[in-house]
């Protein structure tokens, strides 16, 4: 609709006559008709050519080799090690489970990043989004007897749908109201929706078989990793395309965005839908990872963990979010396995079972106060370097504000 109008506007302009208007023409409004006789050349035609920026940094041959090697090591770590291929490590069940959980959490982190990072809306009920995806997927596979490959899109679609509905309601309001609605929705899902045995199979959970060919943990890891790559791609394109820029403008200054022609509601809803889709995919993978998915885990605490891991990873920092989420997945999955040598138990009497719940939050506080930009801030120099830029320790650092005791 709007696009059409715009096109017609352009046509109207091109229909103008050719004579340029002179700067000196000083006419009162009464005479405007008589001035309808000039034209303005189309902006794009007249604009001067600009040469692409000069003097860009190009790594030396050695630099390229170092970068390639680093890439190779990274790929080896992500692809070979979990499969126990070309690897001196023995990746056992708990390790591979951790790796799978990490990829799934990373997708959840990216989903939440779209909401918190791109639209600036806080979701305190993301566990419900993920949970509903999980049960939808389990339902499709177990009750309908359909394939996993149908279940994933269904879960994604349902995730998108619920996000859109919830978003539509809360678009009427902004700020903390959205947090409130998602919070109430999460509690409702947790306590009410997930109590319906028809949906969840009861407190014992619903079985969710893995797809043929991916029953093995190692293979299932590659499947999840594939989905993570897909989500990363979509997220990357989101930020690099018109929708991402529109969201950035919306978040920072909705008035400016609207004056650029951004349809505030439409793009906010779009972000909700994208976030819901990612959450649905993650939920589906989570169900098939656990193979029996129980409703009890989708509690508010999980929602809180999701928010925490996303922020600690670094809002609007894709790689940071992935790392942060993976880290929290390991805290959750590893449970007490953190204190291997029993060091803390011997020194301060902190039993291994409690390292996760005591040291985890303290670590979180340390990270967040030292790196308000999250882990992403820490790794930004490395990332830039690996992408062929100069190594710059200050990359990714939030602008230092040398203002004493003042909240800018």
């Amino acid at each position: 609709m709007t696009i059409l109008q715009r096109k017609s506007r352009k046509r109207a302009r091109h229909a103008k006559a050719d004579e340029p208007v002179t700067e000196t023409s000083v006419l009162s409004t009464e005479d405007t008709e008589s001035r309808e006789s000039g034209t303005a050349p189309d902006a794009t035609k007249e604009l001067p050519r600009v040469t692409e920026s000069n003097g860009e940094f190009r790594p030396s041959a050695g630099g390229w080799i170092a970068r390639l090697l680093t890439w190779a090591v990274l790929l080896w770590l992500l692809l070979a090690v979990p499969g126990n291929v070309l690897s001196p490590f023995d990746f056992g069940v708990s390790d591979i489970n951790l790796a799978i959980a990490a990829t799934i959490f990373a997708i959840i982190g990216l989903s939440l990043n779209v909401l918190i990072g791109y639209t600036g809306q806080l979701s305190l009920g993301h566990q419900a989004f993920v949970g509903i995806g999980a049960f939808a997927s389990a339902y499709v596979v177990t009750d309908l007897g359909l394939s996993f490959w149908i279940a994933v899109p269904v879960a994604a679609g349902i995730g998108a749908l619920q996000a859109a509905l919830l978003g539509a309601v809360s678009l009427r309001v902004t700020g903390l109201y959205f947090a409130l609605v998602t919070l109430a929705y999460g509690l409702f899902a947790e306590q009410s929706l997930f109590s319906f045995a028809e949906i969840t199979g009861g407190d014992g959970g619903k079985p969710a078989e893995r797809p043929a060919g991916f029953a093995d943990d190692h293979l299932f890891y590659y499947l999840c990793f594939g989905f993570l790559v897909l989500v990363l791609w979509l997220d990357w394109r989101l930020t690099r395309s018109k929708a991402g820029r529109a969201l950035q403008a919306l978040r920072e200054n909705p008035k400016v965005a609207a004056s650029y022609g951004v349809d505030v509601k439409r793009y906010t809803l779009l972000a909700f839908v994208v976030s819901g889709t990612f959450a649905g995919i993650a939920g589906s993978l989570m169900a098939h990872h656990q193979q029996i998915i129980v409703p009890g885990i989708f509690s508010f605490q999980l929602a809180l963990v999701f928010v925490v891991m996303t922020v600690v990873g670094g809002l609007r920092n894709r790689i940071g979010v992935v790392i942060g989420s993976a880290f929290f997945a390991s805290l959750g999955e590893g449970g007490g396995a953190g204190d291997g040598g029993g060091f803390l138990e011997r020194t301060i009497g902190l039993p291994a079972e409690f390292t996760g719940i005591v040291i985890g939050p303290i670590l979180l506080l340390v990270v967040i106060t030292l790196l308000p930009g999250g882990i992403g801030q820490l790794i930004a120099p490395v990332k830039n370097w690996m992408l062929g830029k100069r190594f710059d320790r200050h990359a990714g650092k939030l602008k230092e504000v040398e203002v004493s005791d003042v909240r800018a």
Binding site: H394, K399, E400, E402, V403, S404, D405, V406
Partner: protein
């Protein structure tokens, strides 16, 4: 005697210096204008005096004492008041509340606050009209008046004004300059950043800044002779 003394001030943001060793003095009871092109470092200068920005090196002395690392709020208590660039009114508070807060350091002396409030309302009758309106809904110029009024509320001994005329209609801009002239009589020293030559007639001293260094200082009659265009281009 000079009330304010800047010596070899170097200030920057991140890794880039913006002021490259600025030194000047402002005498007690003087109205001093600081001029310069966009990005010359005027705002940085006054923000440093007010304590919003930490100098890299050099010193700022006020009334004989080194200001050092004093916090902005402590500087207000010692008599420095800044009307900042970009107005920065408290958007969710009413005009009256904004002004009352301007007299925060004088809150124990309700007499002074009352007097100053009456004075500000006298200078800017528009503010009196709108005393119950939330500051955030004021027009740009009204907010600017409010910012100036708020800076006056503490009855400072040194008033710093950063581009007060920005967004003000010529009449009101002139009111602001006249106010600086008037409070001079009460012993208030004024340092104002301006781009508008209209301020010059009210000034006792003019400083011109370019790319982080002072390029011109004039006092008394000299000030009225400044041709800005020439000053900027010719220096």
């Amino acid at each position: 005697m000079s009330l304010l003394q800047l010596e070899d001030l170097v200030v920057g943001y991140g890794a880039f210096p913006v002021l490259h060793g600025v030194s000047f003095t402002v005498d007690e009871g003087e109205v001093c204008v600081l001029l310069g092109l966009n990005g010359a470092g005027k705002t940085t200068t006054v923000a440093t005096i007010a304590g919003l920005v930490r100098p890299w090196s050099g010193s700022v002395r006020f009334a004989g004492g080194e200001l050092g690392h004093k916090s902005p709020s402590a500087r207000v208590a010692s008599g420095i008041s800044l009307c900042p660039e970009g107005r920065r009114v408290f958007p969710g508070l009413t005009v009256q509340q904004n002004l009352k807060l301007g007299g925060w350091t004088r809150r124990k002396h309700s007499g002074i606050v009352r007097d100053q409030l009456a004075l500000v309302f006298d200078y800017f009758p528009r503010l009196a009209e709108r005393s119950g309106q939330l500051a955030g809904t004021l027009s740009g110029g009204e907010q600017q008046m409010l910012a100036v009024g708020r800076a006056l509320m503490s009855r400072p001994s040194l008033l710093l004004i950063d581009e007060a005329s920005l967004g003000l209609s010529p009449t009101v801009a002139r009111v602001v300059w006249e106010v600086t002239h008037r409070i001079k009589a009460d012993g208030t020293t004024v340092l104002m950043v301006e781009q508008n030559a209209g301020a010059l007639p009210y000034a006792d001293k003019a400083l011109i800044m370019e790319k982080g260094t002072l390029t011109y200082t004039g006092v008394g009659e000299q000030v009225q002779q400044i041709d800005l265009r020439e000053a900027y281009l010719g220096a």
